[in-house]
Point group: C2
Chain length 309, copies 2
């Protein structure tokens, strides 16, 4: 939520960290760079971590403790889902400010518990520290038979979304605009920004490549295209067939925003983006030979790629 | 490193969280409240998380990125050791400030890698965010045949330390005093504050109860005494037989500090505290019938119990 930019991107940091933490341990099947890591053993385990910082990922004047607890838990649960895995355990580390009230902590914990229950995650441990801003960092562990990574998309696959993206970005825009919320589109947008609905029931068993849209479709599609060495072709017409599209579009028009900026460039929806044949959800495009992402307005790509810094 | 106190203690928060996150899942053998959680499966897994915040747990003007990386990794590794487990995997979430340089990030990563290698931990994933202060949160996973918890101390056991506690507190005192470091005691204290030496080689196989001294002996001993329903009797004379004692005592005298405040009340040494018969390390007392902690000056207990807030 602020615009200070360091001299390097998240991708550059991650590239450097991959070098430093390079390991030849044969148990590590998927290391740094996917939604979660995968380690082999008697069963295949999936592990991920996700941190949220007050003022960057959430604001305590915009969201309740309950909503914030749900949101951070959802981000971690989505990373487990995005490997085609079943969620098992959650560790929660929280830094609290000296002014935090027990009621707020309780509310946060109940939000974490609520979303963890939806996800099938059990909170088994944690750590509490202090800070000038609230920081919540979680680590989630799950298991799967075969992990679905970003590198399996095949020419001829369709591209699917578990539901329409853009609602979280819409909610953020609505809060920033200080528009008084009225009607259905407003309330969906606010709800999805504060605590995104994770598509826990989305059947990923036939997906060839899979990830969750934590940054944006344009970012995540780029990762699948690169890892799978294919081209992802999006069709705006297909998106607009979503039942949710009319509401989202009306809200975008109201706020004088291009709805495609939200759909392709918005992050934190944690909708699942999958490739494969005859998957459930919203059909949004086709995988073809080549490499890259097509059908997304260039202006969106520009915005989304600067999302982190 | 600051003294603002909320209206409740860490113990009160943890008690509340144990209620909220209570689970009857039979796979969870050890939940919230020990050094790490233990879950059953085809093998028994140990999971822990530990967060460190700039200005609270470390200062970037006191420690290098490398030292900070080592320290936070050590805290997580020690929690795995403190369950009698073998370390496997590490997830690292870091919030960086906009002013952080790539050199510093690299230094931090190399410190994490250095300590992880000592511990046998493989860094398999992570998350990067932004914040006004650097925050580092890690989650570590290990495995064991039987977890050694805090509730197994038996009447007749001895009490042991893997090495002398107090050095980290001494280093902190030295930095606060702005004394120009000279001689061996100074350099040990500074080193142990910046990157504590973890006793990775300490054989815990015969320990009946085990934890690492992250808060203080008085705090950790209280936890063992309560969980095991025994009395822990410490003997200062036995501590003073440690080869390290003379140096620590001379430094305490120099800074006009009671050395027992450091030994019993100092935290973040991550030395292992164990009960059992004929364990290696420093013999420091006896387990007897009763309940509570004896042989520690009351003034220390007062200080240590207020450590968190």
């Amino acid at each position: 939520m602020d615009d200070q930019s360091p001299a390097f991107t998240e991708a550059q940091i991650i590239a450097r960290l991959r070098e430093v933490f390079a390991s030849t341990d044969p148990r590590i099947e998927v290391g740094i760079g996917d939604d979660a890591a995968v380690v082999a053993g008697e069963k295949r385990q999936v592990m991920t971590t996700d941190m949220a910082v007050e003022g960057v990922h959430f604001r305590t004047d915009w969201s309740t403790g309950f909503e914030i607890g749900r949101k951070v838990t959802a981000a971690n649960a989505a990373d487990i889902l995005a490997m085609g895995a079943v969620a098992d355990y959650l560790l929660v580390a929280v830094a609290l400010t000296p002014s935090q009230k027990m009621e707020w902590i309780d509310d946060l914990a109940r939000g974490i518990k609520f979303e963890a229950d939806l996800a099938g995650l059990k909170v088994i441990g944690g750590d509490i520290s202090r800070s000038e801003k609230v920081v919540i960092s979680m680590a989630a562990v799950g298991h799967c038979k075969e992990a679905i990574t970003r590198d399996g998309a095949k020419v001829g696959d369709g591209i699917y979304l578990s539901s329409l993206t853009g609602w979280s970005a819409a909610g953020f825009a609505l809060l920033q605009s200080q528009t008084l919320p009225t009607g259905q589109a407003h309330s969906i947008a606010l709800r999805e920004f504060k605590s995104p609905t994770i598509d826990y029931g989305f059947d990923t068993s036939k997906a060839t490549a899979l990830c969750d849209v934590s940054d944006s479709i344009v970012e995540q599609a780029g990762q699948i295209a690169k890892a799978s060495q294919v081209a992802l072709n999006f069709d705006k017409e297909l998106f607009s067939r979503s039942e949710e599209f009319v509401d989202l579009k009306s809200l975008a028009d109201e706020l004088k925003v291009d709805v495609w900026d939200w759909i392709f460039g918005g992050g934190e929806d944690h909708v699942l983006l999958a490739t494969g044949v005859d998957l459930p959800g919203l059909s949004i495009g086709q995988v073809t030979a080549g490499e890259g992402v097509f059908g997304i307005p260039l202006s969106v790509a520009d915005k989304a790629w600067r999302h982190f810094s």
